[in-house]
Subunit: 206 residues, 2 copies
C-alpha cells in the first residue's frame, strides 16, 4: 500500500488555530505533558471497542481513523472518518464513564495523540485563546453534524455521494468504497450503481 505522507503535529495544529507563537505553545504543552501522549498504531488496530470506557480524545497526527457502530443486524455504520489534524472523541463514554458502543479503528498505520479527559480544561486555564479554539472546534463539529442530518433527511443517495467526493476527495481516495457507502447510509451495491450512472451521465454530456 502506498503510504501517505501527511503529518500535522499537535503543535502545528495549535499554532495554526490559536495564532499563538510556537514557544508559548511548547511551554504550555510542557507544563501539562502528563496529560497527553503519542502512540502509533497499525492498520486494523482498534483504539477503542464496545464495552471499553473511553479516557482520551484522539488527535490524528498521521494516518486515518474511522469511528463506527454496529447495529443489531450486524451492519456497520460509520459516524466519522478522521484524517490528519482531526479529532475523534467518544463523548458518551468519556464524559459519562459509560462503556462505549462504538469502534474506533485505524484504517492506516497512524500516529495518534491521546489527550486526557481534562486536557482541554487544563490547557484552557493557561490561555484564553485556547478556550476559544475549543469552542470553535465544538461549534464546527455541530455545524458538520447538522449538515449531515439535513442531507440524510433530504438528499438522494446520488446527491449525498456527489457531495462527499466534493468535500472529502482525499478520504474517498484512501478508503474502500464500501466504507464510503456505510458513511453515506447506503448499500455498497447501490453506491456502485450510483457511480456507474454518474459516469454514464458524464460521458453523454461530453
Amino acid at each position: 500500500m502506498q503510504t501517505i505522507n501527511l503529518e500535522i503535529t499537535l503543535e502545528d495544529f495549535l499554532r495554526d488555530r490559536t495564532k499563538l507563537d510556537q514557544s508559548t505553545i511548547t511551554n504550555a504543552l510542557t507544563s501539562i505533558k502528563d496529560k497527553y501522549k503519542e502512540i502509533t498504531v497499525k492498520k486494523g488496530d482498534f483504539l477503542l471497542q464496545p464495552g471499553e470506557v473511553c479516557h482520551h480524545s484522539f488527535y490524528v497526527q498521521k494516518g486515518l481513523l474511522r469511528y463506527y457502530s454496529v447495529d443489531s443486524k450486524g451492519k456497520e455504520h460509520i459516524l466519522n472518518f478522521a484524517p490528519e489534524g482531526w479529532f475523534v472523541t467518544d463523548r458518551d463514554s468519556m464524559y459519562y464513564g459509560q462503556p462505549t458502543i462504538y469502534f474506533t479503528e485505524a484504517l492506516e498505520d497512524s500516529t495518534i495523540i491521546l489527550l486526557d479527559k481534562d486536557f482541554f480544561t487544563i490547557f484552557s486555564s493557561t490561555c484564553q485563546s485556547f478556550i476559544e479554539l475549543n469552542e470553535r472546534l465544538l461549534q464546527n463539529h455541530i455545524r458538520h453534524l447538522q449538515k449531515r442530518i439535513t442531507q440524510l433527511l433530504s438528499a438522494t443517495a446520488e446527491e449525498r455521494y456527489v457531495d462527499f467526493v466534493r468535500i472529502y476527495p482525499n478520504i474517498m481516495a484512501r478508503v474502500p468504497q464500501w466504507m464510503v457507502a456505510s458513511y453515506l447510509g447506503i448499500a455498497p451495491e447501490s453506491l456502485s450503481r450510483v457511480r456507474k450512472d454518474l459516469a454514464n451521465k458524464w460521458k453523454k454530456s461530453n
Copy 2:
C-alpha cells in the same frame, strides 16, 4: 388551544446548571444586561427566516420553537424542536455572518430570550463554572446529533418513531403529527401507517 404552563427562566436554568447561587447569577446578568433581552412571539411568528443574518441565540423560556429547512422540492425538514429550557442557535449564520438557510418558527405563543453572539464569551469571563456549562451544552448537543445520525443510518421508520415518543412524549403531544414525521424523515402518510401497525401489534399482544 390549551396553554401549557411551563416556564423556566434563564436564571432558573443557569442556577440549575452551574450550581451557583441565585444572587451571583443575578449580579452577573445585571452586569451584562445589554447582552440579552426578552421578547414574546405569537404562534406562527418567525424568529429567523432564510436570507436573514442571525445575531442571537434563542433561549426558550416559555413555549416551543422549531428549526427547519426547506429543500429544493419544497419539502420541510425539521432539524430541532426546542421546548422550554432549550436553545436554538443558527451557528452557520451567527459565527460566519452568512444569511441563514433555515426557518426558526414559534409553534406556540412563546417567551424567548435573545442572547447576543458574545453573551457566552462575556459571561464566561466572569465565572469559571459558566465556561464548563457552555462546554457541557455543546457536548450534549453533539451527543444528541450523533445519536440522531446513527438512527437515520440504521433504524426503520417504526424504530425511529418509537424512540421519539419514548424520549419526547411532551413534544409529541404538542405538535401536529406531520411535523414529527418531518423530524423523523418520513412522509406523514407513512407515520400514520406506522402508528396504525403499532396499535394493532399492541392490541394483539393483549
